[in-house]
Subunit: 429 residues, 2 copies
């Protein structure tokens, strides 16, 4: 299904939705706009907003950089307005671009699930955040834009020493790693862990968190060129999955197998992971990267991945004394769990026990290159997107494509005319 | 399949097997029988041995009490000879009697997976056990007899203050509970646990172990008459599964569900347990009690249980953020895991934090009554079997059935003629 013909009403970015439904408790009078006097001032000025919008499923050309001039949003109680300084790129966006990430609303939709920046305004009832706070923010989508409205309880104050890039790199990867290792599995001293794509964002987070527990052995698959880096990061046994059978390599080192297998691949690798488990071991499937091959949806790869997807009866599990778990951060809605886990992670950061590794930073204009780098598994650590416009001399040499018109939301009378000034160059291969 | 026609060679009790294969390193000369000088003395005397033997699949009449006079076994290196003082009855023997426990060798086979008693002789290489030691012992079968040969590493010294009944009640139930809660699941302060058959042996062990962790909520199903006892034992919310829908009852108290569900039932209860899990929760299936209805194999109950057996793809698990685990102590062969878990349990016993609750003790003659009590879920805690002969005045009034002949093992020339002096009364209903 292509979403390009979908009406835009329900896929407008957050800012554009705000004027549709002015909350009854938050009229325009400045004295009532709550926690922050600055919020009133902000409301006077129109907000320019660069956003990365998925306009349909397919290659990189489906992601457009749209620069709009929006009327200032009216915040609902409990919301904050954030000026985004850096965003994280995740595998979910690679899947989403191909129409394979079901939690993403249909296009057109602004992408992005994590970012960080500075609070510019607070809605009513927001007591524990204030204008000027540097915060990390999480949402299902819409984070890849210059200004964004998010619920205050999905923002987390950044430690002083943390850079915006680090802040944007932390939430999705480290929450995933933390919840898998310590909430779902039972990582304790002396145990062993296998992590695939050990040089990726989650891989590095898993490795660092494993190092917070004494005497944990980490097996990590990655291409040979990354081995030195991941070894230094804490991977006990790096394995080159491109030239060697990782199952055999692990069995050579640990004939009984491993205690915890973290599987972002799906398909036949899930079965291999299950077989590698020691008794009482846990396999946690948290992705289906094997689905993604080329730039567009690959039906053969999907069919193969789904066909090979592990399905087990409880009788089989009893005989094996094994656990099969599924993890997907996007489906977790327990705010308390998010809050307590983020608190622990920020504490570990302050103690110097974890530190996001930034692979590279790309301006919004370069989103295709950023995604390509991740897609081709060239990154070691996190790929970051920066909303700030690239300086003229840094810009890619190729000519920008023709300007695209964006549908105007007719229900939003206060909204300024949107103008697309630039869009990303398609780099599909 | 009925095993009644199966040749006896491979189903002989442990003692009868010994003479078949004298270990090359343990000749008969007393000076070479190793760790214990008493071993030599023991070898001189014939050993009378009362044993409970499953002679075929079906009702209680298939379990015969056979009293044999055996030649003393020659211990292999690493083995000990144990005079059994008390044995534990487990659900596995109810399943085994019906031919539903695949780890049990085909009949005729001496039943029993746990017991405790006093060491009467030690084989070569046994350094850390000596004659006179009071030990708990575990084996796949064969523990329901007066004297038994077991590997020394499957024996565990009993604390002084522990009775033989407690010792026999501990291993299977508490190892099951301990490994499920602390090795497979991740029980921590503030979590909640659902245990079915909360008044049974595993149920009480689970409850006591949950109490060793602060602020754990225990939901336990049991019939109403047992609620007072299990409440006193630590079940926070006893639920009468016979008159109420336990799912509804739990949702009333905890709308979000529970963190850990321990399921010994199988069938449709497994699906209910899965649905009751909170995100990141763990369902551990460790039995299929729903298979067992009457005294004999019930094909309809089995088919229903199997048909309703949960089978999930990893995709479904990811969307649910849940874990499905199987646990079966019988399939675990990791001696180190047994050893370390038993050490921890014995330490908890010494600290007064766990204490097996003995429901009732039956002499071997009364095995049918003992099994019936468990089958009908009348017990609160562990049902114990005592090898010691019941005193004449205590004996059941009904006449014993005719004496049954037991096959003689022709490969065992040193073996004394076996004589069956008594057998259990069938109490099938």
């Amino acid at each position: 299904m292509s979403g390009e013909e979908t009406p835009t009403q329900q896929q407008q970015p957050e800012q554009e939705k705000q004027p549709d439904e002015p909350p009854p408790s938050a009229p325009e009078a400045p004295q009532e706009s709550g926690a922050s006097p600055a919020a009133a001032a902000e409301e006077e000025k129109p907000l320019p907003c660069r956003a990365l919008v998925l306009t349909g499923y397919g290659g990189y050309d489906k992601i457009k950089l749209q620069v709009k001039t929006l009327s200032p949003p009216q915040l609902k109680p409990g919301e904050v307005l954030l000026r985004v300084k850096a965003c994280g790129l995740n595998f979910a966006e690679l899947l989403g671009k191909q129409g394979l990430y079901e939690l993403l609303p249909a296009p057109p939709v602004t992408l992005g699930m994590e970012g960080c920046g500075v609070i510019e305004a607070c809605g009513e009832d927001v007591k524990d955040r204030k204008v000027g706070d540097r915060v990390i923010a999480l949402d299902r989508s819409g984070m890849w834009q210059e200004v964004v409205v998010v619920p205050a309880n999905r923002t987390f104050p950044m430690p002083e020493e943390m850079s915006f890039e680090e802040g944007a790199a932390l939430p999705i990867n480290y929450l995933t790693a933390y919840m898998m290792l310590f909430e779902m599995a039972n990582l304790r001293p002396g145990k062993s862990v296998l992590i695939h794509m050990a040089a990726g964002g989650v891989g590095i987070a898993v490795t660092q968190l494993c190092k917070t527990v004494p005497d944990v052995t980490v097996f990590g698959t990655a291409s040979a060129s990354k081995h030195e880096t991941i070894s230094q990061g804490g991977v006990t046994h790096p394995i080159d999955y491109r030239t060697k059978d990782y199952v055999e390599e692990i069995r050579k080192i640990s004939p009984k197998g491993v205690n915890i297998v973290l599987d972002p691949l799906g398909g036949s690798d899930t079965q291999k992971g299950f077989n590698l488990l020691k008794p009482l071991g846990q396999l946690i499937v948290f992705g289906a990267a094997n689905c993604v091959t080329g730039q567009k949806k690959n039906l053969l790869a999907m069919a193969k991945t789904w066909y090979n997807q592990l399905s087990l009866s409880t009788m089989k599990l009893m005989q094996a004394n094994k656990a099969v778990c599924g993890f997907h951060l996007g489906y977790i809605q327990d705010e308390e769990l998010f809050g307590s886990s983020m608190m622990k992670l920020l504490e570990l950061y302050k103690q110097g026990k974890i530190k996001p590794r930034i692979d590279s930073c790309y301006h919004f204009e370069e989103v295709a290159e950023a995604m390509k780098r991740m897609h081709e598994r060239q990154n070691i650590g996190k790929v970051i997107l920066l909303p700030e416009a690239k300086k003229e001399e840094e810009k890619p040499k190729s000519n920008p494509e023709p300007v695209e018109n964006v549908e105007k939301n007719e229900d939003a009378p206060a909204q300024q005319k949107e103008e697309v000034t630039e869009e990303v160059k398609a780099e599909e291969n």
